[in-house]
């Protein structure tokens, strides 16, 4: 009963392709070694911006609700949906506010800017430091494994279909080496005009 980031388990990854981005997560929620839920999704949507949240499940739920609240008010005031870059800064400030009593989460933002059509991904630490990336972003209890898988499988300018295959293999095989991640997976492929969501068949051990 020590590290809040590895009580519930879970992992997420995002990748940049040619005029597209992908974001994916596992579906496991556990209590240390006991698996409790196989339908605990960790990717949330706010307009055309996607947020992956791993870590302590209570904080994942709370932050989802917090960002839903903040982006709803943003939309009312700005009369437009929030862009990925702006949302990333919103995440950063929200987390740093809790600098000395943080949320135990590993966030990833992914999306395509609706004005510039630029794909965008980034990750953060639990206190809001933004880590911009042009290729991939990884978080969760299988992050070490995901680093290895992504570094090995990733190449730039993948088409949406190829990006789907690549991100899926990176997530599945990383999860299979982590006792606290897995029990299914959900993959989002995001392009300018279309968002597709697919569930992956994975090992159930």
């Amino acid at each position: 009963m020590s590290n809040p980031a590895s009580i519930n388990g879970g992992s997420a990854v995002a990748m940049v392709g040619k005029d597209c981005v992908a974001i994916a997560c596992d579906l496991r929620l556990g209590n240390q070694s006991l698996g409790v839920a196989n339908n605990f999704e960790k990717v949330f949507q706010f307009g055309h911006v996607f947020l992956g949240l791993t870590g302590l499940a209570t904080d994942v739920i709370t932050l989802n609700e917090t960002f839903r609240f903040k982006t709803n008010l943003y939309k009312m005031r700005e009369e437009r949906d929030i862009e990925p870059e702006t949302f990333a800064n919103l995440v950063s400030t929200s987390l740093y506010e809790k600098r000395f009593g943080p949320y135990f989460v590993g966030p990833i933002v992914a999306g395509i800017n609706s004005k510039t059509n630029q794909p965008f991904i980034c990750s953060f630490d639990s206190i809001g430091c933004i880590d911009y990336s042009k290729d991939f972003a990884v978080v969760g209890t299988a992050s070490d494994q995901l680093y290895g898988m992504c570094e090995g499988l990733y190449e730039p300018n993948l088409s949406p279909d190829d990006l789907f295959e690549t991100i899926s293999q990176a997530l599945l095989n990383a999860n299979d080496r982590d006792a606290l991640s897995g029990w299914g997976a959900a993959v989002y492929i995001i392009t300018k005009d279309k968002i597709s969501k697919r569930y992956l068949k994975s090992r159930q051990d």
Binding site: S6, G9, G30, Q32, S33, L34, G35, T141, D144, Q145, D176, R177, D178, A179, L180, R203, Q204, D205
Partner: protein, 216 residues
Amino acid sequence: MNGINVDINHLKKGEVNLGTSIMAVKFDGGVILGADSRTTTGAYIANRVTDKLTQVHGTVWCCRSGSAADTQAVADIVKYHLELYEAQHGAPPTTKIAASLFQELCYNNKDALTAGIICAGYDDKEKGAIYSIPIGGSIHKQEYAIAGSGSTFIYGYCNKNFKSNMTRDETVEFIKTSLSQAIKWDGSSGGVIRMVVLTASGVERLVFYPEDYVNA
């Protein structure tokens, strides 16, 4: 401090854990041992195809759980003693003797060891026999035994579904279904299901992959 205190954070730094689901079941022809194949270092799966079913003599085998190093060392020592026993007595040792040796090592070194062992075998005297030796070094003769972190999830299932004198195939299905559930719920268990069938005819190894057991 009053009473008995058990330290569950028992692994030394860097030690690998056979966080595990193991069992042994007696049937009409002998015994069958079963185990998952996952070894973890913390949450990292260090080995996903581990063999936790270890031979200590002919048709006397054991299922290992706890510290990988401790159980390998203990099993090696027992194997040595049993080989010597056969040389000196001219007859193979019984399962009871092997279990007694396990107990002596596990009890006398209880402060240093983290080993949960199920010793099971077939000999002509007792036919099939199963001895459970949990942490602490006590010994328990049973018709069937379950152990390891994953066993906690199948106490109810096994209690309800075990029958004495099942056939070989019934026993294989019972172990497959039981370990399938243990693997499903326990993060420290997984991989393939290995089994070893011990009868008068000798030793038979079996492997079952996720496709075969996920819906058992």
